[in-house]
């Protein structure tokens, strides 16, 4: 019985193609990553909005660094 190799081959090639995107960035190559614009909290206003949306929709009040039960009641 002949086993078709198309699927494993396709999966293997996909893994190889995707795997090549995994790069180990060395500590001395992180100048762009260390840039201020890369910070997720660089805009306090946007951060506050995101926080508000998050706790309202996820019922996770205080879930980001503040003590709370996550009841979403405040």
């Amino acid at each position: 019985m002949k086993i078709p190799l198309k699927i494993p081959l396709l999966v293997g090639l996909s893994c190889a193609a995707l795997g090549s995107g995994c790069v180990n960035v060395k500590p001395w190559e992180r100048s762009v990553l260390a840039d201020y614009t890369m910070r997720p909290d660089r805009n306090p206003l946007a951060d506050a909005f995101a926080e508000h949306t998050w706790f309202s929709r996820e019922a996770a009040s205080g879930g980001r660094g503040v003590g709370g039960g996550g009841c979403g009641c405040n």
């Binding site: 019985m1 999966v11 500590p27 001395w28 100048s31």
Partner: protein
Amino acid sequence: MKENVMRNTVNQTIRLVALMAAFIPVAMFAGDKGLQAGNAFPDIAGFPLEGKVPNLKDKVVIVDFWASWCGPCKESFPIMEDLQSRFGAKGLVVLAVNVDDDVQAMNDFLKKHPVTFPVVRDAKKKLVSAVNIKSMPCSFVLTPQGKVATVHKGFHGEQTRAQYTKEIEELIAGNPSRK
């Protein structure tokens, strides 16, 4: 018949994916641990560095890898300067090795944070790659024989200063050329 072929194909695919997945952590975390205490530090003079490398023979040396975009490096500079001024006459050399891509970024940093110890630039990243540092900043305290005495990963303020001071005092006290 068709089901068997399908089952074999699926099994084969799962095995292949599992095999490839098993190599992912190996590929991600493989590699040497970088220089450790007791290893010989590479001969700095043999690397194409921009700037003048001072005479390091029979000196206790701190080789400090830094960059202008590195926040803790900024904190470490005054302490490096203090160590150089306190122990320079006793045989310490602080050598700062910059790894910025942009020389202007380094110069701007040095204008804002002027220092008296020598600064060289590893523009081609040959030295830093050879040493394979694991964090920024990263400093190596070298014995007068050119071996790594200690490795400092990152910078932790006064705690790091105290460690440097202790190590430098011990190395200077044990350096026969200073007796």
